[in-house]
Amino acid sequence: MFSLSNMLIPAILFFALGFLAQLIRSDLKFPPDLAKALSIYLLVGIGLHGGIELAKIDAAGALSAVAAALGLGFGLPVIAYALLIWVVRLDRLNAAAISAHYGSVSAGTFVTAIAFLDSLKVPHESYPVIMLAIMESPAIIIGLVLANLARKGQGNGHEKRVSRELVHDAFTNGSVVLLLGSMLIGAIAQPAGLGKIMPFYDMMFMGVLSLFLLDMGMEAARRIGDFRKVGPSLLVFGIMMPMIGAAVGLATGHWLLGFGAGGTLLVAVLAASASYIAVPPAMRLAVPEASPALFLTLSLGVTFPFNVIVGIPLYFWAARWLAGPV
């Protein structure tokens, strides 16, 4: 079942190609607007698919998925924070900013996991898509709370207004709006009309993902220069934290939500992945004292490649082991 060939799915190969192109200092350039366009497309596509599936299923299942997502979104940053403070011995503000990234999710990793399942023809539950949409916000808020706690004693009045704005931003950021909005559209639009637009999202999806990952590979490799700044103990955190997250996610998916191997993998990936699109600007605003070189390098340069290349197959192996032989 598990051979190298599982990793030869095109999405991952394109990620590797982008990584390599950057390593050999190719002049290959990806227009930033193209990356934005591809990410809009992917989020809408995920949302529509999720919405169509969700329209078919029961509300009770959806509710427990929502509850699990909230639990993960609020709980994981606390675990990350504790590790960063007590084990890595990082200062509190950087710890708060980094924690928020690990409580949130990476849609790119999520979709790569779906591509992985597709390539093995393993089915999966549709609830994890709701969880994806929901997990962005709580982590941002917890990050904010941790940062405000950390600042106690340093006294600063201006923070209140920023905090209020950030809570607003946490719930209205572009990814959340696109995911939830398209999910709703997928659930309520009339089927004939949906039938007309879905080819655009079905047939191109994996191809668009491959181009997106090509760019993300370049982006990840660009971060390698900052490894020095990050230091060895944080780099280890960038690999251990996704594994801890994945363990929590596997338990949640298997025991709490009762998913099969496919769905359990997706929950593990949600818990293991760290945001590198929505959370960085939020933390930049919320905790300007924290260094983007740390949180971006960890989420984009360490955890993202680790999950895409090693994590997904590893978590799936565990999910399969939990789910037992089919």
């Binding site: 990356a35 990410s39 699109i277 600007p281 930049r284 605003l285 260094s291 971006l296």
Partner: protein, 97 residues
Amino acid sequence: MKPVKRIEIVIEEIELENVIRELDRIGVVGYTIVPHAGGRGERGVRYESLQGLGNVLMTIACDERQATRVIDAIRPILKRYGGICLVSDAMWVIHDS
């Protein structure tokens, strides 16, 4: 032509809204924004990306009195989030003179 102060600010894209709010508060109506900027400073390299962590370049032409107020309003933002602010002299070719 009328002598004015030319204020040139480089800040992170995500800070732009805050700066405009300050300008509104002070009553500065006119400004020009150039997006997609990158750069390097004490806080490392910045470039346009999915995250919106690139820079924007803002230019404000105003009289000396307003310039002082703009600078005072901008300074804490620069202190907190980084960026630069340069002030120089220029002549404004007014439309009707």
